[in-house]
């Protein structure tokens, strides 16, 4: 392909050659802007013109219009003449631009959207609770198979990753504590440190965060995609309540799976701490387990598991809620999935902080 070129042969005549196409124009658009052209009729010689497309015709016509000139085409292929003429008839008005939105209006819209989303979330929680009540009144309609399937996907298959993460976390907690405790000769207290930290805080929190990233996001993406492909509408027209089929089994499954995963994380986390205590502080497994049994109470375990139950509901509800907020496109599915993860982790930590405040008031 020969690049487009353009030379003045006389005052009112220009010779075009090469490919005046999207691919052939290259720097010609800048070059043509610097050339002056007489107003009135200008001859464009096209015998060497290899090709011309809309972009080429557009560039030529714009140039002519800027100088108040009209084109007389000589030796042009008939088809290109037609295209050139068609482009010439198109009035070049200013481009339509999206309306400007002021900063204040944007801030207001963001605030209003946030508020509306919070209200929508409340409505969603209410509807889900209502659907759960209706389902409990007719226990035969509970979809146990779906619940079990969700437990397998969200719980059982998450065992390796939660176990590994909690184990590593146990190592980190013990390692950070070991140095401080050694200063005071209080090596054995590493058991209390690891035990309380894992059982009450870290195990439920790390499990909830992993599940928010694993299951919460997949719930949002699944429901969002089903909305885009009109599967949710189809469900409604077939008389199946989407909340009952899509949301409740997920909430129930996580409410069962997350506490169990937390207990599993307790075990591997404490084991991680135990390994570190032996390496760094010379506390044997036997000694560790002995003190663990005497110092830690069932209450700590139950507090952690109870928190996990709440976290599970938060993660499942937010994942489903954001999924249902998807509007129309692939882009929206991605955005809602991201929001679901960020929002559920945020809310899990907020809830955890609230628990700490409440427990300190109750002196638990």
């Amino acid at each position: 392909m020969i690049p487009a070129t353009f030379t003045q042969t006389s005052e009112r005549e220009w010779k075009l050659s090469g490919s005046w196409t999207v691919l052939g124009l290259e720097h010609l658009t800048q070059q043509i802007a610097t050339q002056a052209c007489a107003s009135g009729e200008v001859t464009l010689e096209g015998s060497d013109l290899e090709a011309l497309d809309t972009a080429g015709a557009w560039v030529l016509q714009r140039w002519l219009r800027q100088h108040g000139a009209r084109a007389a085409l000589s030796h042009w292929p008939p088809r290109l003449e037609k295209l050139m003429a068609l482009v010439a008839t198109h009035p070049e008005g200013p481009l339509v631009q999206p309306p400007e939105v002021s900063l204040l209006a944007r801030a207001g819209k963001t605030a209003a959207d946030g508020l509306r989303q919070a209200l929508d979330l409340l409505v969603f929680i209410g509807e889900t609770a209502g659907a759960a009540m209706r389902l409990l009144a007719h226990p035969a309609r509970i979809r146990w198979r779906t619940v079990l399937r969700n437990i397998q996907l969200g719980g059982f298959e998450a065992l390796p990753i939660t176990g590994l993460m909690a184990f590593l976390l146990g190592i980190v907690v013990a390692y950070q504590g070991a140095d401080q405790l050694r200063h005071y000769g209080a090596n054995i207290f590493v058991v209390d440190l690891v035990g309380y930290a894992m059982l009450r805080e870290f195990a439920p929190l790390i499990t909830a965060i992993i599940i928010a990233g694993r299951s919460g996001s997949s719930y949002a993406a699944q429901i969002g995609t089903m909305l885009v492909t009109e599967e949710v509408d189809a469900m409604r027209t077939l008389g199946i309540e989407p909340l009952e089929l899509l949301v409740l089994p997920k909430v129930a499954a996580l409410a069962i799976a997350l506490p169990l995963l937390t207990i599993w994380a307790d075990v591997t986390g404490v084991f991680g701490g135990m390994v570190m205590a032996r390496v760094q502080l010379d506390i044997g497994f036997h000694e560790f387990i002995d003190r663990f049994g005497r110092e830690l109470h069932g209450a700590s375990l139950l507090i952690g598991v109870g928190k996990a139950c709440v976290f599970a509901i938060i993660v499942a509800i937010i994942g489903c809620f954001q999924g249902f907020r998807t509007r129309g496109s692939a882009d929206s599915v991605g955005r809602q999935t991201t929001i679901s993860v960020v929002q559920s982790i945020f809310l899990v930590i907020v809830a955890d902080a609230l628990f700490s405040v409440v427990f300190s008031k109750l002196e638990l």
């Binding site: 196409t21 290259e26 497309d53 482009v87 481009l95």
Partner: protein, 258 residues
């Protein structure tokens, strides 16, 4: 009159998915400047054939020659160069949902040229007006468009680079009769304006009668017949008869004759 050269030639193309044979020795030629339709029942492999032509799928065996190049044996650069010479309009539009309609149409220009943004937007708007969309439609996102507008916007993107060849997958499916007639008209207009070669897959009898020069009927994993609708109407094969014998088919023929 000089016989036009073929721009697309498929020879002995076979496609199999596992043990399921979709095409067995499909041979066809599309000539420069014609409107060529591929028809056939559901599952006869029309769309698969179209996807093979535009290099989205490889046939199991056989050769496809496009604009003088064997597309089953092309390097990366040659296939990119070839892709710029054709436009494809997908059945469901295939517009990018995160871009406005104007950005969708301007995307091929932006990707493949060094033209400035203002010029690209102006050209995109012009292409949108060519397919009959108002200027403010360019600012909308694809999910805000109706079915007919979506098809038009998609066609507009397919012709963004002024291609030599245009592939249309079911251009009128899912449209009301008035919009479908509008798309018929549009295809005719594009054809006369750019003199391009159009290959389309369709079920639309009006489109077949009024716009298409030649039609290939797919069935039983092969090409049953190729010819103008007039020529096909004399054939006796039951699948082909289906396009002529029922009342809807007769009406479409009468409308075309009128």
């Amino acid at each position: 009159m000089v016989t036009p050269e073929p721009v697309l030639r498929m020879s002995k193309v076979c496609t199999r998915f596992g043990s399921h044979v979709v095409h067995q020795d499909v041979d066809l030629e599309v000539l420069r400047g014609e409107v060529f339709a591929i028809v056939g029942g559901s599952g006869s492999g029309k769309t698969v054939l179209l996807r093979e032509m535009v290099m989205l799928q490889r046939p199991t065996s056989g050769a496809i020659e496009m604009l003088g190049a064997d597309i089953t044996a092309l390097g990366e650069e040659e296939s990119l160069a070839l892709r710029k010479r054709w436009g494809v309009m997908f059945q469901h539009g295939g517009l990018f949902s995160s871009l406005t309609v104007r950005e969708n149409v301007g995307l091929p220009l932006r990707e493949h040229s060094t033209l400035d943004d203002e010029l690209i937007d102006a050209i995109a708007d012009w292409k949108l007006s060519l397919v009959g969309l108002a200027a403010d439609a360019g600012l909308k996102f694809p999910d805000e468009l109706s079915g007919g507008m979506l098809k038009r916007a998609s066609l507009s993107r397919a012709i963004a680079l002024d291609p030599e060849l245009l592939f249309l997958d079911e251009p009128t499916s899912g449209l009301d009769p008035a919009s479908a007639a509008g798309v018929d008209e549009l295809i005719r207009r594009m054809h006369s304006l750019y003199g391009l070669t159009i290959v389309l897959v369709t079920h639309d009898l009006d489109l077949l009668w009024q716009v298409c020069d030649r039609v290939a009927v797919l069935g039983e994993a092969r090409v049953l017949a190729i010819g103008s609708m007039e020529e096909l109407s004399h054939l006796e094969h039951p699948i082909i008869r289906g396009y002529f014998d029922d009342p809807r088919a007769r009406k479409a023929r009468e409308r075309a004759a009128a």
